[in-house]
Amino acid sequence: MSNGSAVEVSGLVRRFGKDIALDRISFNVQPGELYGVIGPDGAGKTTLFRILATLMLPDEGTARVLGRDVVQDLWDLRTRIGYMPGRFSLYPDLSVAENLAFFASLFTTTVEEARETIDPIWVQLEQFSSRRASALSGGMKQKLALCCALVHRPEILFLDEPTTGVDAVSRREFWELLRRLRDDGLPIVVSTPYMDEASLCDRVSLMQAGKLLVTNHPAEIGRSYPLPLFAVGGGNVLGLLGALRRYPHAMAVWPFGEALHYTDSRVGTDPTLIERELRAYIESAGLHEVTIRPIAAGIEDAFMWYMTQERAA
């Protein structure tokens, strides 16, 4: 395996007619790493995953998985990778157990041989084993799909949006399973539109409009936020939003859960000074009982920042 990376992607380009779905993408995934590709619909995640899963050819650039080229070595790769497509890909008329047995037979193996690998997931599915796949809840469908992607004991997993449309608690359970698999040494590349899932990955790339905006450890991405950031809360949200956006030093103002996140354009200025001036301004705008506190940026703040930088560039 050349230099030991689980995935090495270099200058990957893929066009569809005039549209560019992947615009010179480069990144690598280390062995045993849980790697996240975070971005909205239309960012290019699915195209990237299809190429990595040897199901689509790139127009330019190279991608190597487990040291093998996704174009030259596709037959060798196909039995070594597990791929869970974004759209539900199981047979709705087959039962849970039948789906699993079917996928095992495609890879000329048996469910028994995979027992140890799939067991952490199977214990949660077993009670539904005779139920038709179409009658499972969203979260259970995704667990079954994960089982099916693991049944031939792959050396790497590609999961394209496994948690989209799944409720918050089922999402959390799904991620716990992924982290267990990672702890057993399986490299996993997973895409998601949910920014809050970034923190569950070892490293992430933020993706938008065919480009990787930034790649790093999730905590580092928050720390890379270049400007002073404050949470401003209380009172009339629309009024506060409007007033803050009119403030001459405002760089960005966005609703964020129970508060607004306000980015000030003054780099290197003492945050307590900014806070004091901001408070005076808000009061002068007739808004009272407002709380202001300096905060550390999260993934979502960073994503929005990089998005606006990319658009301005």
Binding site: D41, V169, S170, P255, E258
Partner: protein, 245 residues
């Protein structure tokens, strides 16, 4: 205080032996943004379908915009807007044509349609794309357009079923600003979402578990009541009582 936009009492729906919605009682005030939360399969969609007149309750009652959902369905439908995660826009029509079509269906006058088309296009920044096919515009714009179309006939209440799935965080927030604007003009909003940070944007929320409302109130009151630091934690405790937080 004026009459509630939604007033549901002991609203119940069974499918065979399965009780999908189990005697829920809640109300939504005029101009209120009400978050309707719950895990997949908790009964949110069934409850919403009863409120918009697509499904008859097994027992209990509800009024929407002051009209009974069982006996005055037509009056209810004229006063509500609805946007689902699979938008109802026609992909093969242009942006303008969609607005005109829906205006016509809702009985909005030609003059009002013309005025509102201009307002909508400028509100969501689509002035230059009015003659583009809906198929060709980005997802985030489609969502905002679908929301504005659901408000064309100036309904008293708009129902939004997971309106922001899959879009980037900036577009998601622009969408919520449209919601705030509509609420500021007096429209009530009932919204379902899987993004718990969005639940914080609501005036009040309810969380459904197994067909019943397990918690209801302002986001901060719900957190306080359960001694939870975040709605994420609230959600986890209510829907998976056995799991550690």
């Amino acid at each position: 205080m004026s009459a509630p936009a939604i007033d549901a009492r002991e609203l119940t729906r069974r499918f065979g032996k399965f009780t999908a919605v189990n005697a829920i009682t809640f109300h939504v005030n005029p101009g209120e943004v009400f978050g309707f939360l719950g895990a997949n399969g908790a009964g949110k969609t069934t409850a919403m379908r009863m409120l918009i007149g697509l499904l008859v309750p097994t027992s209990g009652s509800a009024t929407v915009a002051g009209y009974d959902i069982t006996t005055q369905g037509e009056q209810v439908r004229r006063r509500i807007g609805y946007m689902s995660q699979r938008f109802s826009l026609y992909e093969d029509l242009t942006v303008r044509e969609n607005i005109t079509l829906y205006g016509g269906i809702y009985g909005v006058s030609d003059r009002d349609i013309a005025v509102r088309t201009g307002e909508i296009l400028s509100q969501i920044g689509l002035e230059h794309a009015g003659d583009d096919l809906v198929r060709e515009i980005p997802l985030g714009w489609k969502q905002q357009l679908a929301f504005c179309v659901a408000l064309l006939h100036r309904p008293q209440i708009v129902f939004l079923d997971e309106p922001t799935g899959g879009v980037d965080p900036i577009t998601r927030r622009r969408f919520w600003e449209l919601i705030y604007q509509a609420a500021a003009q007096g429209t009530s909003v009932l919204v379902t979402t899987h993004y718990l940070d969005e639940a914080e944007y609501c005036n009040r929320i309810s969380i459904m578990v197994d067909g019943a409302i397990a918690a209801m109130g302002t986001p901060s009151a719900v957190k306080r009541e359960l001694g939870a630091a975040s709605l994420d934690e609230v959600f986890l405790r209510l829907t998976r009582p056995g799991a550690a937080a």
